[in-house]
Amino acid sequence: MIKDQEYLSKKASYCLDLSKKLGATDASVVVRNSISETVNFRNQKLDESNRSDNLAIGITTYIGKKKSSISSSNLLSDNLNTLIEKCIETAKNTPADEFNSLPDKDLLAKEVKDLDLYDDTHIKNEDKIEYLKRLEVSASNNKKIVNTESSFTEDKSNFILANSDGFCEGYKDSSFIASSVTVAKDEKSMERDYEYSSKCHFKDIKDAEILGKLAADQTIRKLSPKKISSEKIALIFDKRIAKGILNTFASAISSSAISRGTSFLKDKINQKIFSDEINIFDKPDILKGLGSRNFDSEGVKTETLKLVDQGVLKHYLVDTYNGKKLSLKSNGRSGGTSNLYFNRGKVSFNDLLSSNSKCLYITETIGHGNNIVTGDYSVGATGFLVENGEFKYPINEITIAGNLNDMFQNITLADDLDFEYATNSPTMMIEGMVVAGK
């Protein structure tokens, strides 16, 4: 059983009290318990079961403007005492930083709304196995599929965040994740692709047969890929890739990158960085949302932000420390965005596909080729050649490159936004990027 609020709060206040007693002027603590059970299948047989039970604690102590932190999964009380002593000792010896502090009291979350993030359903291993059997039968239907690996994870967690200004809140959340990775083979090639479904509530998980079929279909259509010549060509990003570009935008507007001067979007507040039709929201209170939260990792309340309004950058993602440095109030984004999404575009998916006589549809990128200091972007890619709106053949071993400053200005969105992930984008077209191939 997952530890209850009372148990976690007790641990948290023990740590706060001891920190104060040992000389901390302020302190904050987070205690989290999570229990996760996974079953893996491979080629329609049980492959692995994995149970994990984790209780961990993180403490930050302040002595005036000096700060230090510790974390531990060793919760034996004498170990905890030693660690807190060490934390205070380290804080004493660490130089002061004028911007170190707990969040402003008036910004702390006052209420914790029920965002329906917890589903108490326990899926027995037999039932996980039954789901995976159905999934893998469906995924293995086509004889081109030579390997399937699928898994079902049930994850429950509970936490308390507390600080010496009296904040003490937390809540449970759950996630159910089903996934399938399939390998397909023909004479010329072997390819891999995947599909997954991750939800707070069990009943919202994709049907096993549908998930298996999607994974298999997405893999089979990649077989016998070609490499194309280097050229400048319009790119269409599948939703699962388009959301990555949105996440890169989010890291470039984090107050830490801005205050350190290491983002290409520094000093771009109130400037037009996207085309007119682009609006970007970060909405923390979506019921059952995968990124939903009542407060950020410092306890600061989170409200919906329209980060980009008609192409104009309106907010950075501000935490307490960097906010003080930038003379901005925290907007509850310590730890990043919540449910981040682009608005819906105006054109249909099909119209987007046929808006150029020839384009590439990108389904996967590999590598870590986005540099948020310069905005330079260059990654490996896999996808399809599209001519006059029709998928012609699969493409691989190419790279796509550009600069995010230009890429952002050249985005066109389809009208097919939905909320599958914590970060969501409709299908996205970017013109003017360079493909390197043969």
């Binding site: 932190s69 510790i70 974390s71 130089p95 390997n147 050229e231 350190r260 200091v373 260059s378 691989n396």
Partner: protein, 470 residues
């Protein structure tokens, strides 16, 4: 031997009984206990931004029957908790009818000392070095806009208890020191990163102002990038410098030669054993036995002593990297490559120090032979799609080569290639093999483990460079 049972209501004897009760009909498995301590001290933006300390304790209990692995872990070493894990494993492996494989090779060799690097230098000494780093870099170049430097130190004690009470243990030190610099000139920003580390004390790397070399290198890379122009796009010849660029080897062929992917036939290499997969003259080994290296291990996380495993010899595929389970299922022996990030994770076959050995060409020869291509000296990260064999890595320092001469620096670009065929495109292997500076972390299935790489300069006939200039 560790003191994992000292403060627990569970005695070693009771633990051994639970282990034998759980594993008796299994083919393999063990109780893995881990106690780790780590610190991180970060200087950023002219200040000590963070000083943190982590203490982690827990166990992972594994039972294997046939192809099925059951795993359960907890951070609570207690009677109750271990019993619960045992029940969990037994319920997964209800029908296990195997016989436990007791054999595990022994060795007395050790590849690092039993030290705790965290305690070997005081906090104030570490803070002083970080401040010196900051002042040194900022005084050297007026375009410096940001300096980040950090220390990471760790000591991990592990103990493996097998059926029958056989116990194997190891204490592993690890440190890393990193410097990152951002320059700004005429409105243009570029950065440079460098670091060093391994399984020794901080002083082994930083004494006598050695840290200045790390700063100089980070600053040099950033300065080069400030003058860089757009990278070319398309297929061309690529010369790779020695040392760290060997992450090409790690991504292009290393992952594809891990036992699990080959047992499951999902690696592009699974049916190529004994065949020619690289040009003549190309020999690649995975070595866990080099003293004090980041990727070295006295024993792996299943207790098998590590070794120097020949993967590719003179172009021919010789061995895969194996843990115990994949070795048993593929009817071979473990090569001591069974690793895990920590007790929260299952063991997988993972690389240690992956190295291409020397040939007899010089870097000069290679560059002179290229009409149009690039010379890549340093890289950021890489990634591979095991199944299609396609891999990428990102240049962080590269130059164009025109008519046999090194030209201007070029902007960071991704290079993409095909793992099974890239090594056949290697047309010269250099005589200047170098180990990387000790900074690599490899990710697989959500687990990060420290690794090393090494190679001499090499010339690749054809690779796709992901620039923007057509």
């Amino acid at each position: 031997m560790g003191n994992f049972f000292e403060k627990s209501d569970l005695s070693r004897n009771e633990a051994e009984n639970i282990i034998s009760d759980t594993l008796q009909k299994c083919d393999d498995g063990e109780l893995y206990l881990e106690n780790s301590k780590s610190e991180s001290i970060l200087l950023d933006d002219n200040k000590i931004k963070n000083s943190s300390y982590n203490s982690d304790l827990g166990f992972g209990f594994r039972a294997i029957s046939g192809e099925i692995v059951a795993y359960s872990h907890s951070n609570e070493i207690s009677k109750n908790s271990l019993k619960q894990s045992s029940e969990n494993l037994k319920s997964t492996l209800k029908s296990a009818q195997g016989s436990y494989n007791h054999s595990i090779p022994k060795s007395n060799k050790k590849y690092y000392e039993n030290i705790n690097p965290i305690d070997q230098k005081t906090l104030n000494e570490k803070i002083k070095i970080l401040n010196d780093v900051n002042n040194y870099i900022r005084s050297k170049n007026k375009n410096v806009k940001q300096v980040t430097a950090n220390f990471l130190g760790e000591q991990k004690s592990i103990e493996i208890i097998r059926l029958g009470g056989e116990t194997l243990s190891d204490v592993r030190p690890l440190i890393r020191f990193n410097v990152s610099v951002m320059l700004e000139k005429n409105g243009r920003k570029e950065s440079g990163v460098y670091g060093i580390g391994g399984r020794q004390s901080y002083d082994s790397y930083l004494k006598e102002d050695n840290w200045k070399n790390v700063c100089d290198e980070a600053l040099r890379i950033a300065s080069v990038n400030l003058e860089s122009k757009p990278a070319p796009a398309g297929e061309m010849k690529v010369v790779l410098g020695p040392g760290w660029p060997a992450i090409l080897i790690h991504e292009a062929v290393g992952h594809g030669l891990e036992g699990d992917f080959n047992r499951k036939k999902t690696s592009a290499f699974y049916n190529l054993m004994g065949q020619k997969v690289a040009s003549e003259g190309v020999t690649i080994v995975d070595d866990g036995t080099i003293d004090n290296r980041r990727g070295s291990l006295t024993i792996d996380d299943e207790g098998t002593p590590t070794e120097k495993t020949v993967l590719i010899e003179n172009g021919i595929l010789k061995n895969f990297m194996q843990d115990r389970m994949n070795a048993r299922l593929m009817k071979t022996r473990s090569t001591g490559n069974g690793r895990r990030e920590n007790y929260r994770h299952i063991v997988l076959p993972r690389m240690r120090n992956t190295m291409m050995l020397n040939g007899n060409h010089t870097q000069d020869e290679m560059i002179k032979s290229v009409d149009k291509g690039i010379f890549a000296v340093s890289f950021g990260g890489g990634q591979v799609d095991i199944t299609s064999g396609k891999f990428v890595f990102n240049c962080t320092e590269a130059y164009e080569i025109i008519n046999g001469k090194i030209g201007s620096p070029i902007k960071g670009a991704t290079l993409i290639g095909d793992g099974p065929s890239i090594l056949k495109e290697v047309s010269m292997v250099g005589n200047d093999m170098m180990l990387d500076p000790g900074i690599g972390t490899c990710g697989k299935a959500g687990q990060g483990v420290p690794v090393g790489v090494a190679q001499p300069s090499i010339l690749i006939n054809k690779m796709t460079v992901g620039g923007t200039k057509l």
